[in-house]
Symmetry: C2
Subunit: 434 residues, 2 copies
């Protein structure tokens, strides 16, 4: 019995490792088209920033280690050209055929370079693999660009903008949508825009880039362009094999990460998952979800019956030194999803003033009809990841605002305030939903 996994990064390797733990006898083959497996793509902007000294720090496992420690065969440079499910075969680009009994598709996502003319010019970079990062760093160090354009004000775009400032490069960020970070939140956009301005990053929302030329992007002269927009799930291979995609364009998967083809699972950035608040399929390509869905796909491919309950869309990003964390639905999106959202927002200190308490902004959204929490955000210097995780945990248990307001949260002056900002914002929200 052979399990083949297409993709050797987060989801694929989580699937392979988990399948091995549950079944010692399964033959497991991982096919990775790139030269490196098991890298932390989320660390790549920090390599550009200089926080990560060596790209090797971002690589967790080598193929050799997978083979030695887990008896899993990992082949790099193994690009799959086609899946022939009726024959239970994948065809590699070189023509080789690999038989499978069970298949996990973890083909990830890529930046779509077709959207903007000039995206293939040599001074245009994406940042998805260690090789991308190495080339970008080399370009920065040898060409010493003075001006750069970043296309896209999502997480990666704003992290890269921050990183480029560490090289004293003047940065313009173009965002096609009206708002940053993929959220319909004008307040947030304003906060990020003025923060960027302080760090000499010119953030332009509602400004698509019509074309990239050798010396400019849109109307901005620059010697370097980083594409951080147009991320798309890699589904061509799957679609050609008859694997269904959903409304979002990613592979449709059940809560067991099954596709429509028997014996084929999908996981990671190429697949949809269930949104815990709306109950509807979403495509939120994040490393955390990739690992979790990979683990579930691998377990089920090995004969277990595990479920992935879904995602709340929890994320955190550091922009120009300030942290932004989110979970659930922003108010505008909640409204589109048919809820009657009510929002409360407070500013407070993240811990006692005499322990260097700094300002933190906390938002909480609930549904007026059911009083259920729908989402929240935390902006601050410290403690924001913990606070957003508390909200995420509450979302997972469908908590109502009055229950949340009574949570027994930890307090002592070095760590918090006696009334945690989470509880204060919940008290405010309670009044608003009443």
């Amino acid at each position: 019995m052979r399990l083949v996994v297409i993709g050797g990064v987060a989801a694929g390797l989580s699937a392979a490792a988990r399948a091995r733990r549950l079944d010692k006898n399964l033959e497991i083959v991982v096919l990775e088209k790139g030269p490196v497996i098991s890298y932390g793509a989320c660390g790549l902007p920090y390599y550009i920033e200089g926080q990560v000294r060596d790209l090797a720090e971002l690589v967790h496992f080598t193929p050799e280690r997978f083979r030695r420690e887990r008896n899993i065969e990992v082949r790099t440079g193994a690009e799959v050209a086609a899946i022939h499910h009726s024959r239970r075969q994948v065809a590699l680009a070189g023509g080789e055929k690999v038989h499978y009994d069970k298949l996990v598709v973890a083909t990830g996502a890529r930046t779509d370079r077709s959207a903007i003319p000039g995206s293939d010019l040599p001074h245009v970079f994406a940042l998805q693999t260690p090789e991308n990062a190495r080339r970008l760093m080399e370009f920065i160090e040898t060409r010493r660009p003075r001006r750069a354009a970043v296309v896209g004000a999502g997480y990666i775009g704003l992290e890269i903008a921050t990183a480029l400032r560490a090289h004293r490069i003047a940065v313009t960020v173009f965002e096609r949508d009206a708002d940053v970070l993929g959220r319909s939140d004008p307040n947030l956009t304003q906060t990020v825009t003025s923060l960027c301005r302080q760090f000499h990053i010119d953030l332009r929302c509602g400004t698509p880039v019509a074309a990239i030329e050798p010396d400019r992007a849109g109307d901005v002269a620059c010697e370097l362009v980083v594409l951080a927009a147009g991320l798309r799930p890699n589904v061509d291979l799957a679609a050609e094999a008859g694997i269904e995609t959903g409304r979002t364009g990613a592979i449709r998967a059940s809560d067991r990460m099954e596709t429509n083809l028997a014996g084929v699972w999908a996981a990671g950035d190429c697949a949809e998952s269930n949104h815990l608040v709306t109950g509807r399929p979403v495509w939120l390509p994040l490393g955390t979800t990739a690992n979790k869905t990979g683990r579930v796909a691998g377990a089920n491919a090995a004969g277990a019956r595990e479920r992935f309950p879904g995602v709340a869309g929890t994320s955190v990003v550091r922009i120009c030194g300030l942290g932004f964390a989110f979970t659930g639905l922003p108010a505008a999106e909640a409204k589109r999803e048919g809820f009657d959202p009510v929002l409360a927002r407070i500013e407070d200190l993240d811990r006692a003033r005499y322990f260097w308490g700094r300002k933190t902004t906390v938002e909480l959204v609930a549904d007026r009809r059911t009083r259920r929490l729908l989402g929240g955000s935390v902006i601050g210097r410290a403690g924001l990841e913990g606070r957003i995780n508390v909200i995420a945990t509450a979302l997972a248990s469908r908590m109502r605002v009055e229950e949340f307001a009574q949570l027994d949260l930890a307090y002592s002056p070095p760590y918090a305030q006696v009334w945690d900002p989470l509880l204060i914002v919940a008290q405010q929200l309670e009044k608003l939903v009443d």
Copy 2:
């Protein structure tokens, strides 16, 4: 209609403020026996340590401000000698009688000095009020003691021991019980003991102090003793008035903070509350609970119908620079409560290594039969308050271990690891309960 509140610190003032918000016409009188109201007692060790420069930083409100901004009369130096509930009167120590229609008892807790002979000697201090702290600091600065004994290795005892080391005082901590921090956890005790040793604090568990003499405590020569044990709820006044106390010795209160007497509520360190995991009454005197129960008592005294669901026993303390956080039941206590506890413990980095990730230890306890989480602990330098709060939130929603293992927690390298230690420990625990 007059509401009288006995006690002007956390619970009492929360009650008064909340009652005012809900009823603009109620006459509200707060009677505080001490000279200062509204102080953050949890900050007192940090005044001794030097982190808080001025005790005034720990005082949130003055009586004048309460009167001016909230139309609440706050009387300091107003010690209540008796409650005559049949006449709806409290008698002050000076003889004055104050009528009430509704009464909130928020008399707090105190250190019982009767347990150890010599506790009333002038070099023996407790640390419950700003006045206590001022006197202790004056003693340290004028007498320059070289050796001190701390009685009790609970939160306050260990915080004070840390604080005394900042004055280069040799410290011995005596703990009557076998374990520290009121937890039956030999592992924890060992960790704290060796940590203390590194900081030249001699922590002796299972070592009661028979007597305090002018130049020694037990068998240790010292010029200063701090009592941080024998905290007892102040219930004499209530008990004499016919207000029932519970098994724990604190005032028995319903989930609406009602006592057995109609029109009398209790809140804060003098009252019991419901434990969210066991469903049984506990006495866990903490500032967070005092504020919350005060708020509920005040709301109900003003005619609302609010509930306090209970406490998980969540707490965090910094000892010798290292953070210790807890929630729910330790395994040994869970067993005594009739559960079949299973414990998993892991060590991991609290965030990416290249963002100065430091070791953190996370424990999670679940019940084998129901798979429900029962408690957990987190030890570390950073992020521990957030992680313990996630566990506390899960306890409040009676989450099972497999649900917890799938939580959508935030990740990016400056803040976390892609597999948060909470998820890894939950995965370990899942295997153990299977």
